[in-house]
């Protein structure tokens, strides 16, 4: 079975700092990759996704992620964070082509200090 590892459980940054959240997965076949975000008091929502093609994908609010197949990684980045980026971030993997669900990492709680 596949698994997802997020290396940082809690990250605290100052506004305008650069962000990189690590995500590694274990699965040898074709995968779809996702980053979800949950802002305080809000639904879990899709931040960005990778299915195929260009391994550098862009999402909402200036976020991007790079799929490196050789490293089984899908790290999330943002050049300059804002206070409003404070949230919980989840990396997720969909392995294979069936209807079964996503495998999530444990999440990273990001706090941006003004």
């Amino acid at each position: 079975a596949q698994s997802v590892s997020q290396h940082n459980h809690h990250v605290i940054l100052s506004e305008a700092a650069s962000l990189e959240l690590g995500c590694n997965y274990s699965y040898g076949g074709t995968v779809n990759l996702f980053w979800y975000v949950q802002y305080p008091g809000q639904h879990l929502q899709l931040l960005l996704k990778y299915f195929s093609g260009d391994p550098l994908v862009k999402g909402i609010k200036g976020f991007e992620a790079e799929f490196i197949k050789s490293k089984f990684s899908f790290n999330l980045r943002k050049p300059s964070v804002q206070w409003s980026d404070t949230a919980e971030y989840f990396c997720a993997v969909k392995a294979g082509g069936g209807a079964d669900g996503l495998t999530f990492g444990k999440g990273t709680h990001l706090i941006i200090q003004p």
Partner: protein, 113 residues
């Protein structure tokens, strides 16, 4: 546009009591439906998924069950709750098996005391 509703938002139940959480989706037909649980300090764990009415797949053996009596309704149940059933329960839906972009409800926070 599509929307997903979950209720109740919070629930406090005694050990041994039954449970019924409901999830409905509007604005789409024949969605894939999912129940996840997030326990404290852990990621989201897939509990059940359904590709159609009456079709339920279980990912983790446990004290819970799921049913899909209608196309856009997904119910999570238990006959007797355990302390370990406490957590945050999320319902999600998707329309594409291949891509499986999932859209989540607001969740139900269940506390079993």
């Amino acid at each position: 546009s599509q929307t997903i509703h979950q209720w109740p938002a919070t629930l406090v139940q005694p050990v041994g009591s039954p449970l019924s959480l409901e999830c409905t989706v509007e604005g789409t037909s024949n969605p894939n439906l999912y129940w996840y649980r997030q326990a404290a300090g852990r990621g989201l764990q897939l509990l059940f998924y359904s590709v159609g009415i009456g079709q339920i797949s279980s990912e983790v053996p446990q004290n819970l069950s799921a049913s899909r009596p209608q196309d856009r309704q997904f119910i999570l149940s238990s006959k007797k709750l355990l302390l370990s059933d406490s957590g945050f329960y999320l319902c999600a839906w998707s329309v594409s098996v291949a891509k499986n972009i999932q859209y989540f409800g607001a969740g139900t926070r269940l506390s079993v005391l």
